[in-house]
Symmetry: C2
Subunit: 457 residues, 2 copies
Amino acid sequence: MMMSSLLSVLSTHDIEVAETLIGVIRFLLIFVAARTLAEILVRLSLPTIVGELLAGVLIGASGLHLLLPPSAHASLNEGFINVISSLASIPAEAVPDLYFETFPSLQAVATLGLYALLFLTGLESELEELVAVGAQAFTVAMAGVILPFAFGTFGLMFLFQVDLIPAIFAGASMTATSIGITASVFGELGYLKTREGQIVIGAAVLDDILGIVILAVVVALATGGALEIAPIVKLVLAATVFVIAAIALSRTAAPGFDWLLDRLKAPGAVVVASFVILVLSCFVATAIGLEAALGAFAAGLILSSSKNNHAIQQSVLPLVSLFATIFFVLVGAGMDLSVINPLDPSSRSALIVAGFLLVVAILGKIASGWSFVIDKPTNRLVVGLGMMPRGEVGLIFLGLGTSAGLLTPSLEAAILLMVIGTTFLAPVLLRLVLKDKKPGGGNSIPDEVAADPVGLI
Amino acid sequence: MMMSSLLSVLSTHDIEVAETLIGVIRFLLIFVAARTLAEILVRLSLPTIVGELLAGVLIGASGLHLLLPPSAHASLNEGFINVISSLASIPAEAVPDLYFETFPSLQAVATLGLYALLFLTGLESELEELVAVGAQAFTVAMAGVILPFAFGTFGLMFLFQVDLIPAIFAGASMTATSIGITASVFGELGYLKTREGQIVIGAAVLDDILGIVILAVVVALATGGALEIAPIVKLVLAATVFVIAAIALSRTAAPGFDWLLDRLKAPGAVVVASFVILVLSCFVATAIGLEAALGAFAAGLILSSSKNNHAIQQSVLPLVSLFATIFFVLVGAGMDLSVINPLDPSSRSALIVAGFLLVVAILGKIASGWSFVIDKPTNRLVVGLGMMPRGEVGLIFLGLGTSAGLLTPSLEAAILLMVIGTTFLAPVLLRLVLKDKKPGGGNSIPDEVAADPVGLI
């Protein structure tokens, strides 16, 4: 509090009221929109995550401008501004500033939700099965990275005369599967613990690692710096060591965790101790140059063999239900669909390039489902479709390329459409393919998990 | 993302890494410190909240400077800066800026925790009992506001020759009971559902309302403006209508909530629907000029008669265990005890004034326990001690007075010591008074709640 007179104290109080109002209205909008659409989609037998993304689109940058990430560079809804301004007695001009200033807090809560979801995914993983399908997951990840990257980059260069660097950016934006969206879809369909589910989750984790390496390489290329091998080797090494360490720890550290838990007497021990492991793992991952999200998944893996696994899941579920919803609504809210209006002639070339990228992005990942050798019955189409959603990872590439001024507006729009298309189509197609099929392939799912895979009660 | 070159993109990546590291290390510090102390205090039969406040003092502005609210105006721990700087490869000078820039996100999560705790307190309230003790709660609230205010203000003026306005500020800072701390202590001791617990919670809620009114009056006085009666009457009216409406709604709205819940099919319905009611109630409270915290408690009251009460409690508990802990650690971290070093001669006069305020603050609230008429056996000392903690509400008054330049350093220190003293002493004294006593007084507590009042499992 750095104020020099009581007048500014008074206005500080008004500002705090306005900030509180903005915060609660944003929560209200997110949950009412997301749940309304989720209820409709559940009745159409579609995963609720599609509803959450759609809710974001409806109230976000492409829709009502009520939920507007600062990166969207659009104007806030006038009605929203007027409501806040009149309720909190502050001038209307001050509302957008407060809105965007407080947005990082919402994003922080959403990130907590994403990490909680990845932690839960790790917890629900059948580690034996994940290790057993390691070779298949590796092949799927490699094929799912190489095919879209190669066809995307060369296709743009030779079919659409795009320059090398932007073509590489667009190609790279198609490589990484969004593990959050994939885990959510498989979880909700009750397919997380099947062989297909485990291959996809394993491959998506490897994709994340490959994505970090590709990002380093592409940025090095684009800045014209010498392409140094040493940092790349270091990254790959760090990632490999991290994943192997997590798998090894799940056999030795989980009993130690249980031992500690038995000795803790203060209430809330299970959820707090799990959170400490989660945060610790995120710290180690970030400190050695990997994504914190990878750390969250690894923490879940480590605790997956704890005898308190069920209690941990129960305590994480409310966090996932609340905050992962915010994350996915924010992903939808950040998408600006106005650039791909087919009635606008200037966006038609973008639509053609977008169509090309979308086809490459879909076929490249679907093809990865046929890239591996396995002697057990496995639904390869489910694996390929599971690898499809790009989500936030594709958006990060788009953001980097745009902010560096490397992409033409038409290529930007095309990449955005590719991300949106793969994100929305994957759950819908998966649902169509899996319609009326019970999870199979040698793995069984406990009834209580099948009844309520990612939700609570 | 507003960057003009890939170089700034690169450094943006480094900044993101630094921000993630700062965020996860803060979580780690908070939870490791809070849980270590909580485990020690549980073994001494003291409430864990004392451990959480102490943990904040240890790592906060009075201790290691690792958890440092921007309002503390102190320098961040050098070791912390060096660790972040070396791990994220950003210059050491940039670390404090990033630290303080990202602090509001932590505070937002802490606020969510406080609201979740108040919501849970409302849920656990026995509404019949709360209404039954309404008259007693009202008397306790009035006495607990008037006694410390009158004795504090006039005592400072006549014993210490303090001017009228600063004396009124100091007096006002002693009026409002911290409902968060009080609810947490009573919950942990298993005393939330006793007659004493309900009187204290009811009185603390009324105190919150009176606190808002007093704040408006004091600020109006201090700015020299005419003391208008209309806004004050409006506030009192709004508060009264709000509380009565919440009590009325709990009889009519809870069945409607249950009806809706039966029809919702998407997973996670219980926790999300409860959160929507919570947020909606906070919105209404804020919109009519009341504290959002009051809205959170009212939402709990409204849903307390829902047949899903137990399921709602189970889904809220993890949020409370994680995020309310952060809130209380932050309260402790914001306290700067260096101003009251008894070895420093300049702080001795502050200590004498502080001692006076502390005695008035303690006796004033304890006396309120004898202010009501009741025909059932009631432990009046428990009621008085329960009203003692001032916590964050006292700190708000302190912040307003300091920022307006109304208080001398010695009076500032004295108010701070009063807040710290009442906050720490209340749980300790309550534990001493209740030692070996089972909750009684006509109310019984369900075993599962008594075994785990605020924690989880």
